[in-house]
C-alpha cells in the first residue's frame, strides 16, 4: 500500500531532476525531418559534383565555381529547413511538457552545442577556401559529434550515443577519404532518422 507512494516519489524525484537541469523537449519528429532533408541534400550534392559523367568510367569529383555556389545553396537551404522545422516542432513539444525553448536548460544545451559546432564550421570554411575540400565532410561529422556529446549533459542521454556514433563515422570517413559524402549521408541522414524515430517512440505522453 505504502510502496506505491514511494515508487511514485522516486519517479517524481527523477522527473524533477531531469526537467530542472535538462532540456528534454527536443522533438524526435524534427530529427526524422532533418535526416530526410540531409539525404535529399546528399543526393543533390552528389549529382552536382559527380553529375554528367559517363557511368562506366572512373568518376572524378568536379568542383567548379558554379557547382561550388550550388553546393553552398544546397547546404544553406538544408540548414535553414532543418533548424526551422526543429524550432517549430520543439516549441510545440516544449509547450506540452511545460518547458520553454528560452529556458535556462535550453540555453545551457545550446551554448554547449554551439561552441564545438561553430569551431568546426569555421574550420570547414577555412578548409574550403584553402582547398582542403576532401576533409570537410569528415570534419563536419566529427565536430557535430563532439558538439552532441558536449551538450548531452543538458539533454536526453541518447544524444551522447548519437554523438559518439557521429564521431566514429567522421573518423572512418577520414580514413576512407573519397567516400565522404556516403558517410555524411549515413551520419546526418540515416542516423538522424533512426534517432528521431527512437526519440519519438520513447516520448512520454
Amino acid at each position: 500500500m505504502e510502496k506505491r507512494k514511494y515508487i511514485e516519489d522516486i519517479e517524481a524525484i527523477k522527473d524533477m531532476m531531469d526537467r530542472s537541469s535538462k532540456f528534454i523537449s527536443l522533438s524526435g519528429l524534427s530529427g526524422v525531418l532533418a535526416g530526410t532533408f540531409a539525404l535529399i541534400a546528399a543526393y543533390l550534392a552528389y549529382s552536382t559534383v559527380y553529375g554528367g559523367q559517363d557511368y562506366m568510367e572512373y568518376r572524378k569529383a568536379v568542383l567548379t565555381t558554379g557547382s561550388l555556389s550550388k553546393l553552398l545553396l544546397i547546404a544553406i537551404s538544408t540548414i535553414v529547413l532543418s533548424i526551422g522545422c526543429g524550432i517549430f516542432l520543439t516549441t510545440r513539444k516544449a509547450r506540452k511538457l511545460n518547458q520553454s525553448i528560452f529556458d535556462k536548460q535550453a540555453q545551457l544545451m545550446l551554448t554547449h552545442l554551439a561552441i564545438p559546432l561553430i569551431t568546426g564550421g569555421v574550420l570547414c570554411v577555412i578548409l574550403l577556401l584553402k582547398g582542403g575540400v576532401a576533409l570537410v565532410a569528415p570534419l563536419t561529422l566529427i565536430f557535430y559529434g563532439l558538439a552532441l556529446v558536449n551538450a548531452s549533459k543538458y539533454a536526453v542521454d541518447a544524444m551522447r550515443t548519437l554523438g559518439l556514433i557521429e564521431i566514429a563515422l567522421g573518423l572512418l570517413a577520414t580514413w576512407f577519404l573519397g567516400y565522404g559524402l556516403i558517410f555524411w549521408a549515413i551520419g546526418f541522414g540515416v542516423m538522424h532518422i533512426i534517432y528521431g524515430i527512437f526519440m519519438h517512440l520513447n516520448d512520454r505522453p
Binding site: 514511494y6 515508487i7 516519489d9 517524481a12 524525484i13 524533477m16 530542472s20 537541469s21 511545460n98
Partner: protein, 97 residues
C-alpha cells in the same frame, strides 16, 4: 524495517517539497520564478513549502537585484543535501524489501 522507516524524513513527505529538493540537488541555484514554473504551484503554496525547508536549514537563499527587480535564488545547504540523500536511500531500501 523499523530502522528504514526512521530514516524517512517527514520534511520530504510532501510532493512540492520533494520537488524543490530534487531540483536544487542538480542545480546550483534556482529562482522563485523558476521553481514555481517547474512545480506548477501557486506563489503562496510554494512560499510556505520553501519557508518550511528554510526553517529546517535544508535550503538557503540569496536576495539580489536583477534589472532593479528583487530576485531571490535558492540553493541547497550541506545539511539539506545529506538529509535528502538519506531520505532517497531509505526509500530505495524500503522498495528493495
Amino acid at each position: 524495517m523499523k530502522n528504514i522507516l526512521k530514516d524517512l524524513n517527514k520534511a520530504f513527505e510532501n510532493r512540492v517539497r520533494l520537488g524543490i529538493m530534487s531540483a536544487l540537488m542538480v542545480n546550483d541555484s534556482m529562482s522563485f520564478k523558476e521553481l514555481k514554473r517547474l512545480l506548477d504551484v501557486t506563489d503562496g503554496n510554494l512560499a510556505s513549502h520553501i519557508k518550511a525547508l528554510e526553517k529546517k536549514e535544508y535550503i538557503t537563499f540569496e536576495k539580489s537585484f536583477i534589472d532593479r527587480k528583487p530576485n531571490t535564488s535558492y540553493s541547497i545547504s550541506k545539511l539539506g543535501r545529506l538529509a535528502f540523500k538519506k531520505h532517497v536511500t531509505a526509500i530505495e531500501n524500503l522498495l528493495k524489501n
